[in-house]
């Protein structure tokens, strides 16, 4: 016994140290996920039996398909806008204009705030009595009626943008700042205007960073829950739909919810791997090393 201890004590101690974490991981994540997977194949409300009807019911139903489509629309739309916002922003921020530290902090704000609060504030600001519409109707000529932003798809995309663009912006900025400026100088001396330098030299070199950041934004937007819950109105992306399945009907439809959850997870994994393959091909030709 002591010999066993002596030869294996190092490993045993390490295992012992990791035990609580592993226990927590299994108990609070792995097993629940397993349970969800199992539940998704059970007929609703039963504890035995296997069926695919939870999946077919969701995937065949046009409402279910709309939920999936909506989630992608919201996620892709806000990701694309994030990129469009982040690139110029990063280009400005790296020039260290006066107060740039403050503006960098601003970019971090949406990350720090719980989605719930952000959504609340956005609803207030963009509502019919909010400042945006007040500005439009009172200070902009030709506009008499307020514009509907809240509870619309385009509004929701914008809310997502507000919440999740920092991921893209920060990685883009850091990619930008790791560029050697003498390369840009070389471009200029070679006869390229600043715009040409941007197009031919800077953008190709920071594209990997932009893509990496946009993945983070997409992931966050795809899995968004608290925001569409209170600001989605009648629009219910996947995460909200899952919740609705167990919160609204009585008895709660755990199996249906589980199936949707598995579908959501699968979609995310598929999309991620496709995106990664695309990124690898796009960034392949020779990024900075």
């Amino acid at each position: 016994m002591t010999r066993f201890w002596r030869t294996h004590s190092v490993t045993l101690i390490t295992v012992f140290l990791l035990l609580p974490a592993l226990a927590g991981f299994f108990g609070l994540f792995f097993y629940p996920m397993l349970l969800t997977a199992v539940l998704s194949f059970r007929p609703e409300g039963q504890t035995v039996g296997w069926t695919l009807e939870n999946y077919t019911r969701f995937l065949r139903d046009p409402d279910g398909q709309w939920v999936i489509l909506l989630t992608f629309i919201l996620a892709l739309g806000s990701t694309a806008l994030s990129v469009l916002l982040s690139v110029p922003l990063a280009l400005i921020l790296r020039e260290k204009v006066r107060g740039h530290r403050f503006y960098r902090l601003m970019v971090l704000v949406p990350l720090v705030v719980p989605g719930l609060i952000g959504a609340l504030g956005l609803l207030l600001f963009w509502g019919t009595r909010g400042w945006f519409n007040l500005f439009l109707t009172q200070l902009v000529p030709f506009v008499q009626r307020p514009v509907a932003v809240n509870y619309t798809i385009h509004g929701l995309i914008m809310f997502y943008l507000w919440l999740y663009f920092p991921y893209t912006c920060i990685t883009t900025l850091s990619s930008l700042e790791s560029l050697d400026r003498s390369i840009e100088e070389a471009g200029e001396v070679s006869g390229a205007t600043r715009w040409q330098v941007l197009r031919h030299i800077v953008l190709p070199l920071i594209t990997p960073g932009i893509l990496a950041g946009s993945v983070l934004t997409f992931m966050a937007a795809f899995g968004a829950f608290s925001v569409p819950l209170i600001a989605g109105g009648n629009y219910r992306p996947l995460a909200v739909e899952i919740y609705k399945q167990i919160a609204v009907p009585i008895p709660a439809r755990w199996s249906a919810a589980s199936a949707i959850a598995i579908v959501m997870g699968a979609l995310q994994v598929i999309f991620l791997s496709l995106y990664m393959r695309f990124v690898r091909r796009a960034g392949g030709a020779g990024g900075p090393r």
Partner: protein, 357 residues
């Protein structure tokens, strides 16, 4: 067409309290290779950047081939530049890197390809078109940089410490190549470095800078043999300095009293008796004689205070006169030991004097 290809006229640049360029006025002639030499912080890189346009001078004007380019943006100045860290575009092949200036100028592809081929032949890198910078060695990358700088036949070539990132052996090889290419093309070049060996080996003329000002401009020989200030004398090669004052002047020679001894040297123009001068002499110009060798002009008794064997040379510290010390380097065939008495001779024409210093 003026003979001056590059001209700095009173160029001044400040960074906060630091005066990087202080009323710098310098002319570089057509076809010559001028080196800006000086310690770090002397302002040579700032001057280079004023020329490229990356930095705008606070005062003064910059001219290229007679045209005032001070307000012209960088990309319109038709320059070629080689960078210390190569600054190659990592995401482009060698061919695209070198062809970039041509692509920007919208040259048709066929002509682009031909010129790129020419440029690569010039730097002996034919066949490397499809390589990426990260696949090349340092020396090869720098040659690509050179090809890129020359491909569109600029009027002026700028080189910003191009050899600093290469190892010593490669440096000598590249030094030669750069000089060869520049001479063959007959292009005007401005070279910036802190390495005096490079400056002396490559340049037609050298401009030594210190703290934003020009100390001396001249050929390598002039700089080395006739430095006009203590700084220049100390910066290039090893030096000895003796302080003294002029005792007598006689046509083309003068006698300087230093440390209780009299040294005869070539006369300085406009220098008269009583004036304080600094005598300057290189350690390897001083002759060491045995104590019983005959005397003569500028022959003095001395004592070896320290002798160091360096393989091919001997390095001595000699004391002579009233508390004077000289550093002497000779070949190692004849050696003197510590404490030994010797005689040293300061060859008259090898001495150089400057007023005060």
């Amino acid at each position: 067409m003026t003979d001056a290809m590059i001209e700095f006229r009173d160029v001044t640049k400040r960074y906060g309290n630091l005066l990087a360029n202080d009323h710098l006025s310098l002319t570089i002639r057509r076809g010559e290779l001028m080196t800006l030499l000086g310690p770090s912080g002397c302002g040579k890189t700032t001057a280079l950047r004023c020329l490229t346009g990356y930095v705008r001078p606070d005062e003064g004007r910059v001219f290229i081939d007679g045209t005032d380019v001070t307000d012209l943006p960088t990309h319109q100045r038709e320059l070629g530049m080689v960078f210390q860290n190569f600054a190659l575009f990592p995401h482009m092949t060698v061919h695209d890197n070198v062809g970039f200036p041509l692509m920007i100028r919208n040259l048709p592809r066929a002509e682009r390809d031909e010129r790129v081929g020419q440029a690569l032949r010039l730097v002996r890198l034919e066949g490397y078109e499809s390589h990426y910078p990260r696949q090349l060695s340092g020396g090869q990358q720098q040659r690509v940089g050179l090809a890129r700088a020359l491909v569109y036949r600029p009027k002026v070539l700028l080189l910003d410490e191009p050899l600093s990132n290469l190892d010593a052996k490669l440096r000598e090889e590249m030094r030669f190549e750069i000089k060869e290419v520049v001479t063959r093309l007959g292009i005007t070049a401005m070279y910036v470095t802190h390495d005096q060996g490079e400056a002396l080996a490559l340049s037609d003329r050298v401009a030594i800078m210190n703290r934003g000002r020009l100390e001396q401009v001249g050929t390598p020989e002039e700089i080395y043999e006739h430095p006009q200030s203590r700084f220049v004398a100390e910066f290039i090669g090893l030096s000895n300095f003796l302080e003294g004052h002029i005792q007598a002047v006689d046509r083309d020679t003068m006698v300087v009293a230093a440390g209780g001894l009299q040294v005869t040297i070539p006369a300085l123009p406009n220098a008269g008796p009583g004036q304080r001068v600094l005598l300057f002499l290189r350690p390897n110009e001083i002759e060491l004689l045995r104590p019983d060798d005959p005397g003569g002009t500028n022959v003095f008794d001395a004592r070896v205070e320290k002798a160091t064997y360096l393989g091919d040379t001997m390095d001595y510290r000699l004391g002579f006169g009233q508390d004077l010390t000289l550093r002497v380097q000779t070949d190692a065939h004849r050696r003197f030991g510590q404490g030994q008495r010797v005689r040293l001779r300061l060859p008259r024409i090898r001495c150089w004097a400057m007023t005060s210093g």
